[in-house]
């Protein structure tokens, strides 16, 4: 055991080598993309998988470096903005990316417990999906393109997670969007698929628009804080206030205003109310100068966070920007598993967890996040009821689960949201890969009504899919149960000041969503795997996929069981109360949020452990949903086969099946008007008004005047001479008059 520890210690990653984690997949993308066709299939597979595997190993080593086996070996890094070191984290700054005026962005990478966890998920699940893809894409001509894009995605996602400032995070943020665009439209000769890619990119861009504005507001806020704050603010940061302030200013010069460490100090230094501030800056202080003059810090911060919410809604498919995700299922299934289930779409949750200290300063923003999460989750769950495409159901289920994570983040139970992010990555990737396996074995059939009874032919797929379904529905010993329940418990017991009603309301909505989840997931599972094979199936018998596809399924299914460990209260927390492992592990990341919350101004965070009764309640809810589905699809509908459904049920079904006509509403309210306005502007303003009337009008007037004047030109030399003479005479007379005067 000691020897193993020694070996693990040796394996710790050197901070300066962090860039390799991103660079490896990037190099893979470059090689596959540029030389892929020359290298041939096997080499491309090898390179693509090997680079991600290498990245995974490096991530493990980075993870080991920040997770001490003994507390005496805990790493810590210098904080550029504060005298106190950052514990359980390490990072490296590769110098300036760009700087001008007072603004600066560095290439700074940072690994702490949060990004370490995500590193493992991204590279681990990423590797499994690469492996799976080698079989899934074995008949596709564009394999090299596919793997290049996939590697590019992994690189972008890693830079999103590793970035230590907002702008570098934005590189990953847009980078994953770009890779997602390329992968959704991978089969570009199908117009609908290519359009789906564009829809995803443009919708994401709406979010990015908000993200950018939010970043600018943060820059303005930080500079206002820097000029208005005094030592009263820095007493909150810890250490000697004067030194802390000097240190903060140095940090701003060294790393610029958008570094997360600086934002953390900023959040810590911000007083809640004017009374407590003792002359320092508080959330109620108006900004003294600049474009935000006379607006309060708290107000601007709330607006910035709401804009970040819109940005996160774009990336994480939340209401009102979720519409791209179901369409994104046009991409290859492994892509849906990696990008549109496990990693990219969780970026919003990651962003808010990363900036938890800012979020807890604004209960308004938090409650909005939670409400948006609830609406999205419920809406998506309802839509999922009536979808027949297996991937679409999973897509809406993803939207719904992401909504649950947002609810958690919004109500301040950050660690549970991150845990749910991780467990969801496991079981949803497993579900998607399982669905891909089903499609692969059934001649690309995606309609669950035309499948059925697959369990007998695809035993491995069936079993793993079942495990994952049980996990997502929240059946007891599986991870999904614990992570979801931890979120709901936190929602119930955390309180946002001014929005106390939210805790209860969102909690009960959460239970309803859980029941819905259980219902539609059971439905998918039952219709696909149980019962008899549908007579409309494309091929009479399904075939099981090969090991490269089933092995990842097994791994993921196993992970979605064992991840429950993280939710068990095994670690000693404050006051001797046992804490869930994940809460303990992520403690350092959310310590600032805790500290700010414990000042008692904005939110009250709870740390209790769910009681057995809570568990029972959740379990009953999940069972009810599952049982209802079992009854409907095993007994009720098969018995009524051939009879038409009642008109009411059909219209409801049509309404849900058409996704509540949200897409149509957008088409009608946004896309059509923009198109029409641009066409009208082009025809009316550009072509008619400016070009025809103003520009050609000038030319026309000149021509007309010229052709009118040309009749003066009679050709009679004597007439010209007469005019000359008269003019001369006139001039002479005028001069004479002037002289005589």
């Amino acid at each position: 055991m000691e020897a193993l520890k020694q070996v693990l210690l040796q394996l710790r990653l050197d901070p300066a080598a962090l860039w390799l984690i991103i660079a490896l997949p990037l190099v893979g993308a470059f090689i596959c993309g540029v030389f892929g066709r020359m290298l041939g299939r096997a080499n491309v597979y090898l390179i693509a998988c090997a680079t991600v595997a290498g990245s995974f190993l490096l991530s493990v080593s980075a993870f080991l470096a920040v997770s001490p086996l003994e507390s005496s070996q805990a790493v810590s890094m210098e904080n550029a903005f504060s005298t106190s070191a950052i514990r359980y984290a390490f990072g490296y700054d590769y110098g300036t990316w760009f700087s001008t005026g007072t603004f600066r962005v560095n290439f700074g990478l940072l690994v702490d417990h949060l990004s370490g966890t995500l590193l493992l998920v991204i590279t681990g699940v990423g590797f499994l999906i690469h492996l799976y893809s080698t079989s899934y894409m074995s008949h596709d001509e564009g394999y090299w393109r596919y793997f290049a894009y996939l590697n590019l995605f992994v690189a972008a996602m890693l830079s999103l997670v590793l970035a230590d400032n907002l702008v570098l995070l934005f590189v990953g943020w847009e980078g994953v969007g770009m890779a997602s665009y390329l992968l959704i439209g991978f089969w570009y000769s199908d117009t609908a698929k290519a359009w789906a890619g564009r829809k995803a990119f443009v919708t994401n861009r709406i979010g990015d628009f908000a993200f950018l504005i939010a970043t600018f507001l943060i820059v303005l806020l930080v500079s206002a804080f820097n000029s208005q704050s005094n030592t009263a603010n820095f007493t909150l940061v810890g250490g000697n206030p004067e030194t802390a302030q000097v240190r903060y200013r140095e940090g701003l010069q060294m790393k610029g205003p958008v570094a997360f460490q600086g934002l953390e100090v900023f959040a810590n230094g911000m007083h809640g109310t004017a009374e407590k501030a003792q002359g320092g800056v508080s959330l109620e202080t108006p900004i003294a100068e600049g474009p935000l003059k006379d607006r309060t810090f708290g107000g601007v911060l709330t607006v910035a966070l709401l804009l970040f919410l819109l940005g996160a809604a774009g990336k994480s498919a939340q209401f009102p920007l979720y519409v791209w995700l179901p369409d994104a299922m046009a991409g290859p299934t492994p892509v849906s598993a990696l990008i549109h289930a496990a990693t990219m779409v969780t970026a919003g949750v990651y962003l808010f967890s990363r900036m938890s200290y800012l979020l807890v300063l604004s209960p308004t923003a938090m409650v909005t996040v939670a409400i948006i999460g609830t609406i999205t989750s419920l809406l998506a769950a309802l839509i999922a009821f009536a979808q027949d495409d297996i991937k679409k159901v999973l897509a809406y289920s993803t939207v719904s689960q992401l909504g649950i994570m947002f609810m958690g983040v919004g109500m301040g139970i950050f660690w549970a949201a991150v845990l749910h992010l991780v467990t969801h990555a496991f079981f949803k990737a497993c579900l998607f890969l399982g669905a891909g396996s089903v499609m692969h074995g059934n001649a690309d059939e995606t309609d669950i009504k035309k499948l059925g009874g697959v369990r007998h032919e695809m035993k491995q797929t069936w079993f793993t899919f079942m495990v994952a379904t049980l996990a997502i529905t929240g059946i007891v010993p599986l991870s999904g149960f614990f992570s979801k329940d931890a979120i709901f418990h936190g929602i119930h017991h955390n309180h946002l000041h001014g929005y106390e009603w939210a805790s209860g309301a969102i909690y009960y909505m959460g239970l309803l969503i859980a029941a819905c989840t259980a219902f539609y997931m059971s439905r998918v599972y039952l219709l696909t795997f149980e019962g008899k094979r549908s007579p409309e199936a494309k091929i009479p018998h399904a075939h099981e996929s090969d090991w490269r596809m089933t092995a990842p399924l097994w791994v993921l299914a196993t992970l979605s069981v064992v991840a429950l460990f993280y939710a068990l209260p095994l670690m000693p927390g404050r006051g001797g109360v046992m804490q869930p492992v994940m809460e303990n592990f992520l403690g350092p990341v959310f310590s600032s949020a805790e500290r700010i919350a414990s000042r008692g101004g904005q939110v009250a965070l709870d740390h209790s452990i769910p009681s057995l009764f809570d568990y029972l309640k959740a379990w009953v809810v999940a069972l009810t949903g599952g049982a209802a589905a079992a009854f409907m699809y095993l007994k009720f509908f098969p018995a009524r086969a051939g009879q038409p459904a009642p008109a009411f049920a059909r219209s409801v079904r049509r309404f849900t099946q058409n996704k509540f006509y949200v897409d149509e509403a957008y088409e009608f309210l946004v896309i059509r008007p923009v198109k029409n306005v641009s066409a009208i502007l082009y025809k009316l303003v550009d072509t008619l008004l400016i070009d025809t009337v103003a520009v050609r009008g000038t030319a026309w007037v000149t021509t007309r005047v010229g052709s009118a004047l040309r009749y003066v030109q009679t050709g009679d030399a004597q007439a010209y001479a007469a005019v000359m003479a008269l003019a001369l005479l006139g001039g002479a007379v005028y001069a004479l008059i002037q002289v005589l005067k």
């Binding site: 040309r710 030109q713 009679t714 050709g715 009679d716 004597q718 001479a721 007469a722 003479a725």
Partner: protein, 100 residues
């Protein structure tokens, strides 16, 4: 000594004769002769002022004008002859081609 105003009045009369000739006569040759008349009227004023001021600048100018007039007459007559050859007329009214 004859006062300068006499010379000037004579020159003005000559100039006006020339000018009206240029403006109203139809025959290109006559127009030409009227131009010469105007030039000579100018010469007369030059000489009158030269005499009045007692310097030679006016005389120089007069010689200059005579030279120009000679050149003009020769080129002008050549053009008139060329026009007559191509159009068969020297009437100004009938050679109005440079219009509109």
């Amino acid at each position: 000594m004859v006062p300068i105003s006499y010379y000037l009045i004579l020159a003005a009369a000559l100039f006006c004769l020339g000018m009206f000739g240029v403006l109203i006569r139809r025959n290109a040759l006559v127009v030409f002769m009227c131009v010469e008349l105007m030039l000579n009227a100018a010469n007369l004023t030059f000489l009158a002022f030269a005499r009045q001021n007692g310097d030679l600048t006016g005389h120089v100018s007069a010689f200059f004008v005579i030279a120009v007039a000679a050149a003009e007459a020769s080129i002008g007559l050549a053009i008139v002859i060329a026009v007559f050859r191509s159009r068969g007329t020297v009437s100004i009214e009938e050679i109005r081609t440079m219009k509109h």
